[in-house]
């Protein structure tokens, strides 16, 4: 059995929605270079709908695949729906991840949340009660 599912390999080889949204009003970045994983999500949200979403990732095959899939799962959705996105949903959409790579899906979920938190912050709204606490990546002990 291969390390990664066909879906993971597909999203890794042909990632969707790569780049940075022009006129973004929601930008979030999580992770750090010491850990070896950084994900940046940028969105243009209008009428409460995520009209455009793009990502950039520094990380392994899983990191790239999960961030790509996460953008696909929130594109065109309402902010409320995007807030309900879980890392399990991302992993499941990819037909699963090896256990030691599950933390990449957690980071993808956090990247989405970080962008949404930024959306509220820019409007002068405290994001924490809505989005929750954006914790730094704790996949490694640094």
């Amino acid at each position: 059995m291969a390390l990664y599912s066909d879906k993971v390999m597909d999203h890794f080889t042909n990632p969707r929605n790569v780049g940075e949204v022009e006129n973004a009003n929601a930008v979030g970045q999580v992770g750090n270079a010491v850990c070896g994983d950084i994900m940046k999500m940028s969105m243009r949200i209008e009428n409460d709908i995520i009209q455009e979403v793009k990502f950039k990732t520094f990380g392994c095959g899983s990191a790239i695949a999960t961030s790509s899939m996460a953008t696909e799962l929130v594109k065109g959705k309402s902010v409320d729906e995007a807030l309900k996105l879980t890392n399990q949903a991302v992993a499941e959409a990819l037909d699963g991840l090896p256990p030691q790579k599950m933390h990449c899906s957690v980071l993808a979920e956090e990247a989405i949340r970080a962008a949404l938190a930024d959306y509220y912050t820019r409007q002068g709204i405290n994001p924490v009660p809505i989005v929750g606490c954006i914790e730094d990546c704790d996949c490694c002990n640094h």
């Binding site: 790569v18 270079a33 070896g36 940046k40 950039k56 520094f58």
Partner: protein
Amino acid sequence: MSRFLYADHAATTALSPAALEAMLPLMQTEYGNPSSLYSFGQQAKEVLDNARAQVAAALHADPSEIFFTSGGTESDNWAVKGVAEARKNKGRHIITSAVEHHAVLYTAKYLEKQGFEVTYLPVDGYGMVSPDSLRAALRPDTILVSVMTANNEVGTIQPIKELAQAAHEGGAIFHTDAVQAVGHIPVDVEELGVDLLSLSGHKFCGPKGAGALYVRRAVPISSLFHGGGQEHTRRSGTENTAGIAGLAAALAAAVAAMPAESARLTALRDKLTAGLSAIPRTRFTGHPTQRLPGNASFIFECIEGEALILRLSALGICSSTGSACSSKSLEPSHVLMAMGLPHEIVHGSLRLTLGEENTEEDVDYLIRSVTQVVAGLRELSPIWEG
């Protein structure tokens, strides 16, 4: 374009036709147990004796100093644990380096739990151990020093002769893990002055599952394997005659081809290095000249190693990385960390190790492919400012 380009010879090598030829009869018709008294068994013993003589000749050792094992890991375990056990009443201090293969490193850590004290010598930016730092670390209770001949990740060749000399001046036994060096650079135990040396067949076109430990006469070492008394009671277990025959044939061939092959590989490697050094924000890791002929190791900033390896694999290229995400422990390469490279960039490491079947065309393809893949991953990367 479906192409197969193997550039990971440090991980393992293809079995050479000469090795296979040596092995086949032992797996088919000459299956005797070398310990058996009848002539069918003694014929197998003769194969063993010839193999032992071949390996000894390659190292400039005596056949009585060559012991066959299941591979480099067993040889390393035996050398370190065996000397520790044999000399534990003289002292409990062991010195090794921070860049050893895990077969030595984790054995040392295991001995620490058994009450031994281990000093891990630091290395410089090239991964080189200094004889002065060894001298400073030696104590009256130091019983063993173990430093690898050449590093598997960055190819740096250690000053083994000086290190062995320093160890002896300090009253310690000197072991070297020469797994990456044997068959690729000249390794002469007399010239180097080492007491113990590990080697592994599958690193020089021999079979996996066969290795050897050189043990200089009169060096005290306890056994790991007790049983039927094979290998002059030092390493019990029915001999892997096919593996041993393959190892010996492969080593003899490697030594014969070495002058020409190492020159050829060095030239190819240097071309590869020049081509990849043209990629912006790239570092060539390890010593520039004191390094294994086929080894080319790099760090590319702002991208991650596992992603690099997987994308190269899609282009038919077999390579390796020291990134955290690619390791079972999720820790980045201890070798690159010991060399003082910043933690954030160690993840972007690539190791290419050229070998017998690689050609200039392969090197051109490698340069094009790595350049393309690195650029593609940098486009994805939030920390790359194009």
